[in-house]
């Protein structure tokens, strides 16, 4: 019985990559999810989501053991105009009543040079899940003044909003949305 338990524990450790990695919980005060979109084919409009949560599992020696999970509350959209935010929350865009969150879960992480990782996974937005790949850059890390350990990173990528059924105003707003994620994670 003891042998079987030990074998089970060893097997679990081998097949569960996240267990070998360090776990960092996103510090929502120092994590940001911003976006920009072309308005009337003229100027870029910027916005952000104020409620970002997630966990990052990092194994720098074996990147394949790393993992990313981020969840953002769509109702927290903020474009410094309350009326526009209300419009973005409505069924014209995010339909926050039906889809309160957008999320990303990685399925594969590979090394892509010094402090860079190629992250592949699934982005779920507006009820549609699509595969997405982006390059994640580690921006820093180390001890913080409160005795904890932090890791910082960022990623920028584009998505086609029409792919996710956010397709109102095809003439008024660009189809490409650039998302910029920047975070600090606190080691657990």
């Amino acid at each position: 019985m003891k042998k079987a338990l030990m074998l089970f524990a060893a097997t679990t450790l081998m097949v569960s990559p996240a267990l070998a990695a360090d776990t960092y919980k996103l510090d929502s005060v120092h994590s940001h999810a911003e976006f920009k979109i072309l308005h009337l084919n003229t100027g870029y409009q910027y916005g952000r989501f104020n409620d970002v949560e997630g966990t990052v599992w990092v194994d720098e020696k074996t990147p394949a053991n790393s993992k990313v999970e981020v969840t953002i509350k769509t109702a927290s959209v903020d474009t410094k105009n309350p009326k526009r935010d209300e419009h973005l929350r409505s069924a014209d865009f995010f339909n926050a009543a039906q889809f309160p969150t957008l999320s990303f879960k990685s399925t594969k992480v590979e090394g892509a040079g010094a402090n860079k990782y190629k992250v592949s996974g699934n982005l779920t937005l507006h009820g549609v899940t699509k595969p997405l790949t982006f390059v994640f850059t580690k921006t820093g890390g180390g001890k913080d003044p409160w005795g904890g350990t932090r890791l910082g990173g960022e990623a920028t990528f584009k998505i086609n909003r029409f792919d996710y059924g956010i397709n109102f105003m095809p003439d008024g707003l660009g189809k490409d949305v650039t998302l910029m994620l920047s975070f600090e994670g606190i080691k657990q």
């Binding site: 419009h87 339909n95 009543a97 039906q98 059924g165």
Partner: protein, 286 residues
């Protein structure tokens, strides 16, 4: 901003009017064709306009976004509208209630997933099914009993247009455009009723009334519309004013114009009050 907003409206009206082309042939001007086109032309126009609102003419089925079921139910209600003159009213009304309940059930998908109580869900489905079944029948009877078929449809267009303004207030331009497209497209059955005197009103309210009540259900669930705003649906019943003593001595055209103007003014006042009572009464144009 205005041009992307207006294009679907112009296209909808253009396509709806183009669908009337068979009537340019004098031989084709049979009563059945008038009946068919009074329902089908606005439907064609609506789909053409709707397809311009979104980048693809097709939409995934089933739609992931519950606020997009409306477009899929319109052909069903067009069929019911066309069957209305030939089938007993109890049968058409039962089918309307059944499909209306199905539409409401599907639209309420997120609320089912977000643990709304069974009572709240069933009450919402029942209320919607009842409203969208009774509303066109009552509008039709109002128009018939006051002998004002084209006025009844004109007032429904006015209510649709005003509802569109309220959807804009509630931050949903998608619902606004759908309401305004339908309001504009009512020109077609109104014109056909004036042109062909033998054309009956039966069934002509079915499709626009379903669209209007469906849009209100969506607006209440997926936008910031206030719960009392759908009361403006009652403005569709103002043709009863034609029966008042005050108007009875006027000519028919004058009486109808007065009722139309009075309804328009009252709706304008309601919209102004709603707009001015907003915390920040500034218009946002996207």
């Amino acid at each position: 901003m205005i041009i992307p907003f207006i294009t679907p409206l112009i296209l909808a009206l253009g396509a709806g009017l183009l669908a009337l082309l068979p009537l340019t042939q004098p031989r084709a001007r049979q009563l059945w064709l008038f009946k068919l086109l009074a329902v089908i032309s606005p439907l064609i126009g609506f789909y053409v306009g709707y397809s311009r609102m979104l980048p693809q003419w097709w939409q995934p089925f089933p739609p992931p976004d519950s606020s997009r079921w409306l477009a899929f139910f319109l052909p069903v209600f067009a069929l019911l509208a066309l069957s209305r003159p030939k089938c007993p009213i109890w049968l058409i009304s039962s089918l309307q209630a059944l499909f209306g309940a199905g539409f409401a059930w599907l639209t309420l998908t997120p609320m089912r997933e977000q643990n709304w109580s069974q009572t709240a869900l069933l009450l919402s489905v029942f209320s919607f099914a009842l409203t969208q079944t009774l509303y066109p029948v009552l509008l039709e009877q109002t128009s018939e009993k006051t002998d004002s078929p084209s006025l009844g449809l004109s007032l429904l267009a006015l209510v649709l247009g005003s509802s569109g303004v309220l959807y804009l207030q509630a931050s949903s331009a998608v619902f606004t455009l759908q309401a305004w497209m339908q309001a504009m497209l009512l020109i077609i059955p109104i014109g056909l009723l004036i042109w062909q005197k033998d054309l009956k009103l039966q069934g002509l309210f079915t499709l626009p009334a379903f669209l209007l009540s469906g849009l209100w259900l969506n607006a209440l669930l997926f936008s910031s519309a206030a719960k009392w705003w759908p009361l403006i649906l009652l403005f569709g019943f103002t043709p009863w004013l034609l029966k008042t003593k005050l108007l009875s001595q006027q000519s028919k055209t004058r009486r109808q114009s007065l009722v139309f103007l009075l309804t328009g003014t009252l709706l304008g006042i309601v919209l102004a009050v709603i707009w001015l009572s907003q915390p920040d009464p500034s218009m946002y144009w996207g």
